[in-house]
Symmetry: none
Subunit: 208 residues, 3 copies
Amino acid sequence: VGKPVYQPDNFYGDAAPPGVVMGLAWTSLGGATLYIETSAFSTKKADFKITGSMGDVMKESTKIAQSYATQVLAKLDPDNMFMEEYGVHMHIPEGATPKDGPSAGITMVTSLLSAAFNKPVAADLAMTGEISLTGKVLPIGGVKEKALAARRSGVSNIIFPKANEKDWDELDDYVKEGLTAHFATDYEQVYALAFPDGVATWPGASSA
Amino acid sequence: VGKPVYQPDNFYGDAAPPGVVMGLAWTSLGGATLYIETSAFSTKKADFKITGSMGDVMKESTKIAQSYATQVLAKLDPDNMFMEEYGVHMHIPEGATPKDGPSAGITMVTSLLSAAFNKPVAADLAMTGEISLTGKVLPIGGVKEKALAARRSGVSNIIFPKANEKDWDELDDYVKEGLTAHFATDYEQVYALAFPDGVATWPGASSA
Amino acid sequence: VGKPVYQPDNFYGDAAPPGVVMGLAWTSLGGATLYIETSAFSTKKADFKITGSMGDVMKESTKIAQSYATQVLAKLDPDNMFMEEYGVHMHIPEGATPKDGPSAGITMVTSLLSAAFNKPVAADLAMTGEISLTGKVLPIGGVKEKALAARRSGVSNIIFPKANEKDWDELDDYVKEGLTAHFATDYEQVYALAFPDGVATWPGASSA
């Protein structure tokens, strides 16, 4: 099978386990990919732990993701006790790099759902978008830098907030080459892209 | 059905779900609309969580809103266990924008009641006003800026504190055009506008 | 019924509900009236919450008021479970204005007792005075400014600490016009003025 070239920004390659989802960050040095990792273990006392040098806004994002994923699970898989009975830990490598901002919202929700379903997300997919408490996908910054970072990491499918579509349309063609952008107004659309095989059907999902 | 123009400030359009209420903020950059979002889920351990980069005064506002909404529920719907037995989460997008001040008080109360009743509030309505612990609606700043922001977001009904009526009266006609202002001294009046179909009748409500 | 003139500083008018008591503050801008509001609700887990942008000294005042009011209740109304079994919330509008100092002590005690008895205090009454842990009423500053503020808000009865009687006596007549000052050395005297109809009789109270 040959020895794959190690890509520091894409260390899971095409084999991210359940709970691991690629996000896109915008830093003072440009764009970067990052993974949101969630793992869980049965425990006597359920809790929710976060690590990864997150700033205050990002810490709040984990709470929003947790609340929203709890609501999604209650609808899609009511018997799933992941949020109620497990010790859940969400981490963002690399631990020494400070991270902040709300744009990992949809990535965090997807990471939690992937862990709760124990099902990996679609390969070759990165995503960025703030999540509201009800699942609205809100605009983010750094579309160009994030697009470049995704390609650098060898990823070709990116989910952006619908409100950023105009930013994408304005990018030069050389930036967009080889990339497919998907746009979401609601988390339901992210879900359909992350879990194309179903897992559980979104209640009332249209065929759009 | 055509392609709707995305309005970043009004991303729920006319279809805000239960728990979501539009407020009006006054920032150094002018007025802005914002949503207060409340969601809840049954849990083994009731709690109250807030996110959205709130400053200290706004955090206190959430406590006042919680206490007052608890009192209202006890009167209107005594069997409603929302405050006692649910995990309640109140959030204000956008997560990276610091927010502060007491003027979202009535919006927060309405968001909590809407979530507790599982009933959306009237469409095309935004509101601003400090709430006292007993339901008095106290004056706010930035009437002009907030009026402009409401119209920019396509909202035509605004609830202001009665004490701000003089500020409204002094506005130029071009600011007020297309807007209908409602004035409240007590939360009861906000309730009647937010839940026009009733839900539960306010005890001792007059027909005014 | 005519259109009443809205008084921002006296928004309860003559109809303050149980738990609401008018205090007097002394600020860098002069005197001001403020309300101490206490509400309570039955809960599984009793607690005591404070809001209103209180500074450290004022926060300590709420603790002293709580301890002293608990003692008073144990004497006057031993079966009253207000302090033991209720969620109690004390708030001072307006939320964005920082407040500090110990002079709201007797107002806080009265607010707690009014809420515990579920009985409003006498109308047309404002008060200012530090409280000791045993109910002594200690002197405050700003007698003149507070007198002016009371009259501006349309209040004619003020309770001052006995130790401030000399400050009152030295005021010009135009300041005192229309105002009646009452002086207290002990909280018992405040109690008699706030609850003239009795509620519960102060143990060993004289007929003075």
